[in-house]
């Protein structure tokens, strides 16, 4: 299968290793990865902060770049949620019938990374091995918009050597929320503290998720506290093939 990668703006800039991991997993499974170089951002930050007018051209841009893709892989559930939940509204309120029509045919070909593996490629074992204690944080958009359910968990359960520890209250928001983390920094931090208590309580070495945005927020606080738990995108775990080569976290 030819899979087009939408890396997302912040992964491209801040988490290139997540992108490399996605490429590594998909190629290992025998697929061809394509990266349209003119891609930028899905418009989520602008849309969610109230800059709806700025989000519209970005939505158009995304759809025109990926319109003909066989499948689009996005390693960020909140960006997938933006596209699935709100692009149609943007087309509608801008009376853009072309965008609406292109979107309708494109949407069924858009997959969050773990969705792509489980729903499109029908896989649970991607041949990974990773000998660490891991806990999984269910990010809100993955949980409530994409309804990922136990898909990421099923993938993690098939990773050789991985010891998966359930995170208490895993359905509770970590407090990131995009610009919420800055506009309401006090409440965001209070929410994060509760999440950290839960993560540290598991004794896991790694906290993983399908969204680097939540993980950046969690990792930032873990580092501030001097905790040696590491936040790591699920793609990086699924890309690991043996513990010798991947080293220690």
């Amino acid at each position: 299968m030819r899979i087009s990668l939408f890396i997302t703006c912040y992964n491209d800039t801040l988490f290139p290793h997540t992108g490399k991991a996605v490429v590594s997993v998909l190629e290992r499974l025998g697929h061809t990865v394509d990266f349209p170089i003119d891609q930028t951002c899905c418009g989520q930050m602008h849309f969610n902060t109230g800059y709806r007018r700025a989000a519209y051209p970005l939505a158009k841009r995304f759809v025109s770049i990926f319109r003909d893709a066989e499948a689009v892989c996005i390693p960020s559930s909140s960006c997938v949620a933006m596209i699935r939940d709100y692009y149609a509204d943007l087309a509608d309120e801008n009376h853009d019938q072309e965008l609406a029509a292109d979107l309708r045919t494109l949407l069924p070909r858009i997959f969050e990374f773990t969705e792509l593996l489980t729903d499109c490629l029908h896989l649970e074992d991607v041949g990974a091995s990773f000998s660490h204690r891991v806990t999984y944080h269910a990010s809100c958009h993955g949980l409530r918009s994409l309804h990922l359910g136990d898909k990421p968990i099923r993938l993690l359960r098939h990773v050789r050597g991985l010891d998966l520890i359930e995170l208490p209250n895993s359905d509770r928001c970590c407090g990131f929320g995009g610009t919420f983390a800055v506009k309401n920094a006090g409440v965001s931090t209070a929410m994060l503290e509760e999440k950290l208590d839960a993560i540290l309580g598991t004794g896991a070495e790694i906290c993983t998720a399908c969204d680097n945005s939540c993980l950046m927020h969690i990792q930032g606080r873990l580092h501030r506290h001097g905790a040696d738990v590491r936040a790591m995108h699920i793609a990086e775990i699924l890309a690991s093939e043996n513990r010798e080569r991947e080293g220690t976290p």
Partner: protein, 480 residues
């Protein structure tokens, strides 16, 4: 606590009020504990209904139908309620409602009134205006009594004194009811309230209540409650005034079949409310003979035109969104500067004030979606929040302090950068240069200036990697 006000005209912004409340560890423990308890009860009772999702859909449809033809259903209600011997009053705003109610009480020569818990009367600050007009008001719901005696404000739609624990209630009752030896166990506290209130029920001849539902088809009013204080007020009084928002109407009696299944489960985690009162006008020799309804608009009709805003009025005030909200969990209700707190307050309050006030409320959410998931009438609160944020941004488009705000300038720049991938790449390179002076000895960023400083106030930041993904990809392609 100086910042607490539930008047959106005077309330500080959400982040400012939250900052103060976050320091109150006792309050936060009380709120977290209480919401955990209610959430678990709710979850267990929702789980036993195999048709819960169908009930949500049906409830949403009933409420949406009422709002789509609100004029018709309100007039039908008025006709039926009047035919059954009641009087209907229309109030366009809080002031008009207060004047109407004062007039009715004056005509009934009532200088005392007993009250059933009602968010709508709290919205119009009725108690204070009645007191200043010389009418003594007695709240009869236990939690409302706690607030009244403590000169406090509601912090939750269903459990307005949820921010207080029983030790605090004990101290308050001991002081206000002159019971120095009062114990702090729930039976002792409720017994004290019961004795205090029983005298009022028997003595006071005028009562004020809200309404859970107005039924257009029959002209009936429905009130559900847990303590029986409502039943006392509704049956022992001579004059009864119900204050209801215009959105409270439902088309048919049969609609209660759905809503009385979802409301108690979502609200208090009960299969059924202990007291369900439904009455249709006046019955000679039985109950109040002087019966009034005040239908309050107070900004509601502004929400009717657009479907996206109209759904806000579907709310049946169960409070489930508050209990599940991770933001409310940290601050409690007082941070929202309105009697309507939590996620529903964050969308309702700014809309009732046409976004002239409470502009920080649509941003008081991480958009986690837990509120939408539990809402028994399927209000897509996150969708409304982001819509209202766009209205705030549009409204402030020509406002000078906003035009030059770091946020607006930053958003404008980013929007331009994202329109062109070469510009985006250039910005990625620039960011790596700009952040250099802020990278600490341990290789992490601990402090950033301006808005970004809000991030580093609590969290470290890893520096931007030397190579972006696209740079790596391009290099890889070239070497293949």
């Amino acid at each position: 606590m100086t910042l607490i006000t539930v008047d959106p005209l005077k309330a500080p912004s959400f982040p400012k009020a939250a900052a103060e409340l976050l320091r109150d560890t006792q309050l936060r423990r009380n709120v977290a504990h209480a919401t955990d308890v209610i959430q678990h009860k709710r979850a267990a009772l929702v789980a036993e209904k195999s048709d819960w999702q169908a009930l949500r859909t049906a409830g949403a449809a009933i409420r949406a139908e009422a709002l789509r033809h609100l004029d018709r259903y309100l007039e039908q209600f008025e006709k039926q309620f009047t035919a059954a011997g009641g009087h209907v009053h229309w109030a366009s705003d809080a002031d008009e409602a207060r004047r109407i109610i004062a007039g009715i009480l004056h005509d009934a020569q009532a200088d005392e009134v007993i009250k059933i818990k009602s968010m709508t009367t709290a919205e119009i600050d009725l108690n204070r205006s009645l007191e200043s007009a010389g009418v003594r008001v007695y709240e009869t719901d236990l939690a409302e009594l706690i607030l009244q005696l403590g000169h406090d404000q509601p912090s939750h739609i269903i459990a307005p004194a949820l921010h207080k624990n029983r030790h605090q209630v004990r101290d308050l009752f001991a002081r206000e009811m002159h019971l120095p030896d009062l114990a702090d166990d729930p039976p002792a506290l409720t017994e004290a309230a019961r004795l205090y209130l029983r005298e009022k029920f028997l003595k006071v001849k005028a009562a004020i209540c809200g309404a859970n539902f107005l039924i257009a088809e029959t002209g009936s009013i429905c009130i559900v409650e847990s303590e029986g204080n409502g039943r006392m007020c509704l049956t022992l009084s001579d004059t009864l005034i119900s204050v209801a928002g215009i959105e409270k109407v439902i088309p048919t009696f049969a609609g209660l079949e759905v809503l009385l299944q979802t409301l108690p489960r979502a609200a208090t985690g009960e299969r059924m409310n202990p007291y369900n009162s439904i009455w249709t006008g006046v019955t000679p020799g039985d109950g109040p003979h002087n019966m009034h309804v005040v239908l309050l608009d107070n900004g509601r009709s502004n929400l009717l035109e657009k479907e996206i805003t109209r759904q806000t009025l579907q709310c049946i005030r169960c409070g489930a969104c508050l209990n599940t909200c991770p933001v409310y969990r940290q601050t409690g209700g007082h941070a929202y500067g309105s009697v309507y707190s939590g996620p529903i307050g964050a969308i309702l309050t700014p809309q009732l004030f046409a976004l002239e006030h409470a502009q920080s409320l649509p941003y008081a959410s991480s958009l986690c979606g837990a509120c939408y998931e539990v809402c028994p009438v399927k209000i897509n609160i996150p969708e409304v929040l982001v819509y209202l944020r766009s209205r705030v941004v549009d409204k402030n488009r020509n406002n000078l302090s906003s035009v030059f705000s770091q946020e607006r300038i930053g958003m404008k720049m980013m929007a331009r950068i994202f329109l062109n991938h070469e510009r985006f790449e250039k910005a990625q390179r620039m960011a790596r240069i700009f952040e250099k002076p802020f990278i600490g000895q341990d290789g992490w960023i601990h402090k950033l200036p301006g808005l970004a400083g809000q991030w580093t106030a609590a969290r470290d930041l890893a520096p931007i990697p030397a190579q972006s993904f696209r740079e790596w990809w391009r290099g890889r392609k070239a070497s293949q």
